[in-house]
Subunit: 338 residues, 2 copies
Amino acid sequence: MPVTLQDVADRLSVSIATVSRALADVPGVAPATRLRVLAAAEEMGYHPNVMAQRLQKRRTDTLGFIIPTFGPRFSDPYFSELLAGIGNEAAEHEYDLLVSTRAPGTEELALYERVVKERRVDGLLVVRTRRQDARIAYLIEQQFPFVAFGRSDLEGDFPYLDVDGQAGLEELMAYLVAQGHRRIAYVSAPLNLMFANYRLAGYREALSRAGLPYDESLVVTGGLTDMDGYEAGREFLQRANPPTAIIAGNDLMALGVMSAAQELGLRVGRDVSIAGFDDISLAELAHPSLTTLRQPIYQIGQRICDMLLCLLNGTAPEVSQVLLKPELIVRQSTGRVG
Amino acid sequence: MPVTLQDVADRLSVSIATVSRALADVPGVAPATRLRVLAAAEEMGYHPNVMAQRLQKRRTDTLGFIIPTFGPRFSDPYFSELLAGIGNEAAEHEYDLLVSTRAPGTEELALYERVVKERRVDGLLVVRTRRQDARIAYLIEQQFPFVAFGRSDLEGDFPYLDVDGQAGLEELMAYLVAQGHRRIAYVSAPLNLMFANYRLAGYREALSRAGLPYDESLVVTGGLTDMDGYEAGREFLQRANPPTAIIAGNDLMALGVMSAAQELGLRVGRDVSIAGFDDISLAELAHPSLTTLRQPIYQIGQRICDMLLCLLNGTAPEVSQVLLKPELIVRQSTGRVG
DNA sequence: ATTATACTCGTAAACGTTTACGTTGTCAAG
DNA sequence: CTTGACAACGTAAACGTTTACGAGTATAAT
């Protein structure tokens, strides 16, 4: 039903090869013929069959992005923005984006294997790296092109982009200490996630630099959601000797901590200081607005997508391991210890 | 490099057709041979080349989902959840999901045309329907399979699933009126979006049922983001005679309105009542928690995906136009007029 | 005039599948 | 022993491209 190269060729009484060449704008076709072909193709409504092209070219012109999710809901605003960045950048370069969501685990790995083995995509984007990340280990072993958002503790080199969570937390802590805080609690993301380790390390490093002791009881490792932050915050703030400041491993949890504080009648920013990490759009709009470490997530999406495209096109090796510094954004949710 | 049917066939000294048949589990191959083939394929690490399959079968086994976004950021938690629902359901049925993001406009339509013409996907999911929706008009004209989330004001029938925003708003308004509210403001989403019209219609219908006048000055049509809600809320609440309740067209805007109210020193739920629409996960966690109309977004994603799959497989025509009722969730952000 | 060079184009072989059709062989019924 | 049916398998043609190679023609150089 759809019009093919053959149809156009027949109409013009030329060979299918000529039509192909004319359309692909490769040399070897007389300018006059090229114009005739272009006109005919346009008029007949010719559109290439991409599957045929892909089979022949042995590339899919498609990037893969498998979003790790816990439970059915993944409202994490973080991913939507990352997706937008990746998607728009991919589109810019005429690449399709294949998206799947899967909870971490064996099914997830099986999906990676299928995608790789069946050559559904040319390259993959791996996000939220984990300790001994099986996905990365697999991709390295298969020598499959990919770029990760986040570093890893595995042997072997691979291209990644990461935000320096350790440096970020050190800066945030220094700021809080300068505000007079001495009992600073930390709500960590699950420690099997690489970023959680770096941020925790930054927290500890800052403590020792400030000459403060590391108090286990001030660190709790929760999940990733607002609900987790809420529960941790509630627990911290109901203690006999509560912390004067609480840092959460991400903004969503920080917002949860804020909820808990407010529910207990505390004035956030005065009675207790609260800070997060990410700077999702709600951080600015929360009441009070949230002090946080900004990661330019949209741009990160663009960037890792770009890195992957370079890798695929063999252009400019460039720097393949990038470390960005998050930006401390001080807002109303933190203040001098009162 | 990768193993093909030919390789397996050679190894067993059978024809490539036999291998294909054995693997596809179609009749016409001796049980013994089938086992030999299966074993060899497994051992050799054979994986079908999906592009070849797709070319030959003339289907892509891929669904398309083009996310409409405004500006670079689309933090709308709404879409991430919808995406998860769609993605998981598609995966369940062995379908790939092709995702793009594009701002509404001519480029967006061009993308639809390309996707359709080049047969990149078997079917499309259209969300956030608009007045005189050009996407839908095009797909109907091309007779391309699709399912919409949201109705339309176009001629012609098409499969859709929608949440009854009008009924929802009527219920919410009835509740607020019962709480003694008489001056109820409404922050609408852009009126070129179908859902915004239905919700506004519900608002007006409820007013007239309650014998209340429709006061233009109490309705403002903003955007979709928390920022838009913030600005609208600020404007309403700084008036000489402010409304006692404000309804926003979605939760994100409602949270913005709440911020504005709190910034002005108002106690939300007592001095002013605020309600939204969607029930995103932050609604429950906001402080105070947000009264809203719940749409089961994840399930909606699954459902429209399912409807599309049925359509593609020609199975069970079923009911192809579904209207769900949103559920009113009363929380702390609304209360008796004080 | 001859040869070389460049350009234009067609032929045909790939890419890796699926599947209609034909061939061969086996076995039971006549 | 012949015939027919049926099962198991192979051959080959598709699906719609891209591209190496070669053939043919025109132009320039000798």
